[in-house]
């Protein structure tokens, strides 16, 4: 017994003697010069692998693609550091010939790799040709599909000759999260098999170089280059943080604890509850919005996606009926605890889209008439965003904005009125019948709808799906959620769903062009039932009217105003046909701690970029952040 007591006492003394272990998570780096960021990829299995051109071999958002990679252009999902469009390695915008079969790129000079070799057109030609002759690299296929030849007439000019007209070929080299990153020719030309080369230690084209990494994949440390002026960020000034750590802090609860202890400067994403805890308990933590709803609306649009190859959903009146049975306010509360930014149209309500699409189409939406089979109704309610704000005000007080503009930014504008009577008429017009409290399909079977959700891997979307299932069930439809967990990707691609809570709309955010997702919605890419569908037309929508819009977009330039007009035509068509029921932006609870750093992007004062730190675009934060101490 004496030994036991001694042991317990010794353990207690030892713990008391070592409190500093918990306070200093990093060894040998000055905390006030170090930015600590969450890497949402978690623990990297293959930590020593930095060859980002080998698909899925190692980590990407370990800082590798944010801080060490570069390419021709960036489009910012918000306002940008000096505008949405950023010429990065290119000195100007892409130059196409008249029929879009040739693209010329003028390169910026004076840019150097971290080992002192100058970046030139030879690197671009090498990157392109290596992808063209090697199957299985990350961008092999798009190069092989598009490029006939590439040449470098001089050190700072590259000319791509294309196999067929492509007015959006430059998108391959334009960062929206990522893009084709340039390879160092002088390193890779000595490698026999580029798919089996780890590129460790990586030669960087960004403003940082690899300092060290955890062989177990928990953390990666990057150090500002001494010659940062010779990188494309150099023109914006010196990087603020000398060191940037990307780490896996663990599940959402631990991220919150780590930030409360000031051991994690940027949380990539946490739960709504985690965000509310930080807002309440930490004076130095802030989200994209200083107050409610805090989260950044990413240019991604969660929606109820129908499987349009399922006979039940072929009639647009059925799809509309299901849309009018949704009470979006309840979905907003269930999914994001009210912190959702809703959208009635198939465009994420974020970046410049609200000015390009949501505001200009408001009048059209208000006047939009839907024929239920018995009467015509105007289903759009432009006040739902305000109603959500009013609903939250009693509990959240001054945090809820009051001006119409701020409410629209935070909670979205309008949505469809929940209208069970109109839904009844629409279903009856589509030959559905009701027996007792149960709806039957035209062939007399119970109207059963399975809503596939991802489960605890994506709780926000899962809660939205559960609420929608409940609302449909209350109306007499046999609706249930079906939790897919890790099989979601396969089920979505295989069309193994009635409806699925996911997204098939992703946009640039800062640019109105919709080709980023819309081109893949052309009917030429729709797979037969049972076959794997290529991204992103998960709903397998085939429409001659849509094809016409897409084909017209292909013939006009990226910045051509006609492209925006065609985008609005798409929006109207999608409202009329309702192939997906748009719900809201994918709001990300990125939380930034201002204990050690200031200058984070924010909705109110300086929306210079999307704060979500796994985006390649987040590199600009490094030149805006300044130490507080």
């Amino acid at each position: 017994m004496h030994a036991m007591r001694c042991l317990a006492l010794a353990a207690l003394l030892w713990i008391l003697a070592c409190p500093s272990w918990a306070q200093e998570p990093i060894s040998n780096l000055p905390r006030n010069q170090t930015l600590i960021v969450e890497n949402p990829e978690g623990t990297i299995k293959n930590a020593g692998w930095f060859n980002i051109w080998a698909v899925n071999a190692g980590g990407q958002s370990t800082g590798l693609h944010q801080l060490a990679m570069d390419t021709f252009w960036y489009i910012d999902p918000q306002r940008g550091i000096d505008g949405v469009w950023m010429n990065s390695l290119a000195s100007d915008k892409p130059i196409y010939n008249a029929d879009f079969t040739e693209m010329t790129v003028k390169l910026r000079n004076g840019i150097f790799w971290s080992d002192g070799v100058e970046f030139t057109a030879d690197d671009v030609v090498f990157t392109t040709e290596l992808h063209m002759k090697t199957n299985g690299m990350r961008w092999s296929a798009p190069f092989q599909v598009n490029v006939a030849s590439v040449s470098a007439p001089d050190k700072y000019t590259v000319v791509f000759k294309l196999k067929k007209p492509n007015s959006r070929f430059h998108a391959l080299f334009t960062v929206r999260w990522n893009a084709v990153w340039m390879m160092p020719k002088h390193v890779f030309e000595k490698i026999a098999d580029p798919l089996k080369f780890d590129f460790n230690k990586p030669v960087s084209l960004g403003a940082y170089v690899l300092h060290s990494y955890d062989p177990n994949g928990k953390w990666f440390i990057w150090q500002a280059r001494e010659d940062w002026q010779r990188t494309t960020l150099g023109r914006y000034g010196a990087p603020g943080p000398k060191y940037v750590v990307y780490m896996d802090p663990g599940p959402p609860d631990k991220r919150v604890i780590a930030q409360l202890n000031h051991e994690l400067d940027i949380i990539h994403d946490t739960s709504a509850e985690g965000m509310f805890t930080l807002a309440k308990q930490s004076k130095t933590s802030r989200g994209w919005f200083k107050g409610f709803p805090y989260a950044h609306p990413d240019p991604t649009l969660p929606a109820v996606i129908f499987n349009l190859q399922n006979d039940l959903f072929k009639h647009k009146r059925v799809r509309w009926a299901l849309a009018l049975l949704i009470d979006i306010k309840a979905v907003s509360m269930a999914s994001y605890r009210g912190a959702a930014t809703i959208s009635a149209i198939a465009i994420p309500p974020t970046g410049t889209h609200t000015e390009s699409y949501h505001a200009p189409l408001e009048a059209w939406l208000t006047d939009f008439e839907l024929d239920t089979g018995k009467r015509k109704i105007r289903p759009y309610n432009p006040h739902i965003g305000k109603e959500i704000a009013d609903m939250l005000r009693p509990s959240m007080g001054d945090q809820i904005p009051t001006s119409a503009e701020d409410i629209a930014k935070s909670f979205g504008r309008g949505w469809w009125n929940a209208d069970p009577q109109a839904a009844t008429e629409l279903l009856q017009a589509a030959s559905f019948t009701k027996r007792g409290n149960e709806w039957l399909t035209p062939d007399g079977k119970p109207f059963t709808v399975r809503i596939v959700v991802e489960g605890d891997l994506r709780p926000v979307m899962t809660r939205a799906g559960s609420m929608i299932a409940q609302q449909w069930r209350q109306f007499g439809i046999d609706a249930k959620t079906d939790v897919a967990q890790g099989t979601l990707v396969d089920r979505r691609a295989g069309g193994d769903f009635d409806t699925i809570i996911s997204w098939s709309v992703e946009t640039w955010g800062g640019h109105p062009d919709l080709s980023f997702f819309l081109d893949s919605w052309h009917s030429e890419f729709v797979s037969p039932p049972g076959k794997t569908q290529t991204p992103r037309n998960w709903q397998r929508w085939s429409s001659p009217a849509l094809d016409k819009i897409i084909e017209q977009i292909r013939t006009v330039g990226f910045d051509d105003p006609k492209s925006l007009e065609l985008g609005r035509e798409f929006v109207k068509l999608a409202v009329q046909e309702m192939p997906i029921i748009p719900l809201m932006a994918y709001n990300v609870f990125t939380v930034m701690d201002e204990t050690y750093w200031k200058g984070y992007p924010s909705a109110e004062s300086d929306p210079y970029t999307d704060p979500v730190p796994n985006w390649g675009n987040s590199r600009v934060m490094m030149v805006k952040l300044k130490p507080t101490k």
Binding site: S27, G136, G250, G486, F525
Partner: protein
């Protein structure tokens, strides 16, 4: 051939059969999963980027070739066994082309270290307390200890882990809550690194010991309660042998035999990993690797981890079977 050699040979054959069947089951189950590693890779590669459908179809075809997923299941099965027989589980499909054995080799020492320390600590403390509680049945202190141990034992592990985490990571933040060592520390046999590893292991080990100690405690107390009623114990007491000697040499030593069997089984199963512990404490190890492999549909890696576990548990059982007749004369080899 004597009886023991025959017995050992039979056990060895059983061992080989169990390992063969186990690895085959792991292969079949993983290949029956609806998660396709190629689709996972395509999804990861295109989740954010701008890629045309034509290009994605081409990427899908290339990945099937590179991952060796072309051809029928029988061909893949034959290649699998050719590799396994030389200890090679092929490349990981979610960290291609890194070999599965490299990934397991990197993660395994952390899991083995964590779980062997916590298993042995729980075994030692549980048996010691259980033995004392069984022998000194009237001690109030030991009754309280017994109550405490039994109160913690039925609580689900993840709750105990979270309580420990919040208590020592937030309320009284004296211990690190994540990782196996400090960020940017230099690896090596130096005091800084060793202390860092030890400090990071305290919370996960404590949580495992708190939950694990109860089983050993109750088993040992029950065994000792039976042993103390044996004639030879009564005889020793009547003969004036000291209580300490009776407890150590006569009671606990005899009661320990079935507990040692349990220990060997527990040590064998440490190769399964501690999935919840590693997730909650962000500790590096085989459990995190396994979860990640399952989500990615990386069946090469799942089969590799499962095989290590099958071999480890089977080896532990084989070891017990072979050693038992030598240690305990009451176990007869027929």
């Amino acid at each position: 051939m004597n009886a023991y050699a025959t017995y050992a040979l039979k056990r060895l054959l059983q061992f080989a059969l169990v390992v063969f069947i186990g690895i085959n089951l792991a292969y079949l189950i993983t290949h029956a999963t609806p998660i396709d590693p190629v689709e996972q890779t395509v999804s990861a590669a295109t989740a954010f980027g701008n890629t045309s459908p034509e290009a994605i179809a081409m990427m899908r075809k290339s990945l099937r070739e590179i991952y060796g997923l072309e051809g029928n299941l029988w061909n893949q099965y034959a290649i699998f066994w050719q590799r396994v027989l030389v200890g090679d589980f092929g490349p990981s499909l979610s960290a291609f082309p890194t070999p599965v054995s490299t990934l397991i080799g990197r993660a395994l020492p952390w899991t083995v270290g964590l779980l062997s320390v916590s298993t042995i600590l729980a075994f030692a403390l549980g048996n010691l307390l259980g033995g004392l509680a069984g022998y000194f049945a009237d001690s109030r202190l030991l009754k309280i200890a017994g109550l405490a141990v039994m109160a913690v034992h039925p609580i689900p592990y993840y709750i105990v882990a979270f309580v420990v985490l919040i208590a020592f990571g937030y309320v009284w933040p004296v211990l690190p809550i994540s990782g196996g060592y400090r960020i940017n520390i230099t690896w090596g046999w130096n005091a800084d690194f060793i202390l860092s590893v030890v400090s990071h292991a305290i919370l996960p080990v404590t949580s495992l010991v708190l939950v694990g100690i109860g089983g050993w405690f109750m088993g040992m107390r029950s065994l000792v309660s039976n042993v103390v009623t044996e004639d030879y114990v009564t005889y020793a007491e009547l003969a004036g042998v000291s209580r300490g000697k009776i407890l150590g040499a006569y009671v606990m030593r005899n009661a320990l035999v079935p507990q040692v069997t349990g220990l060997a089984m527990s040590l064998g199963s440490i190769f399964n990993g501690a999935i919840i512990t590693e997730q909650v404490f962000g500790y590096p190890g085989i459990g995190t690797l396994l979860i990640s492999a399952v989500h990615a549909g990386d069946y090469s890696l799942v089969v590799g981890i499962a095989s290590v576990s099958i071999v480890a548990v089977s080896t532990a059982v084989l070891f017990i079977d072979l050693v038992y007749p030598l240690l305990d004369p009451r176990v007869k080899v027929s």
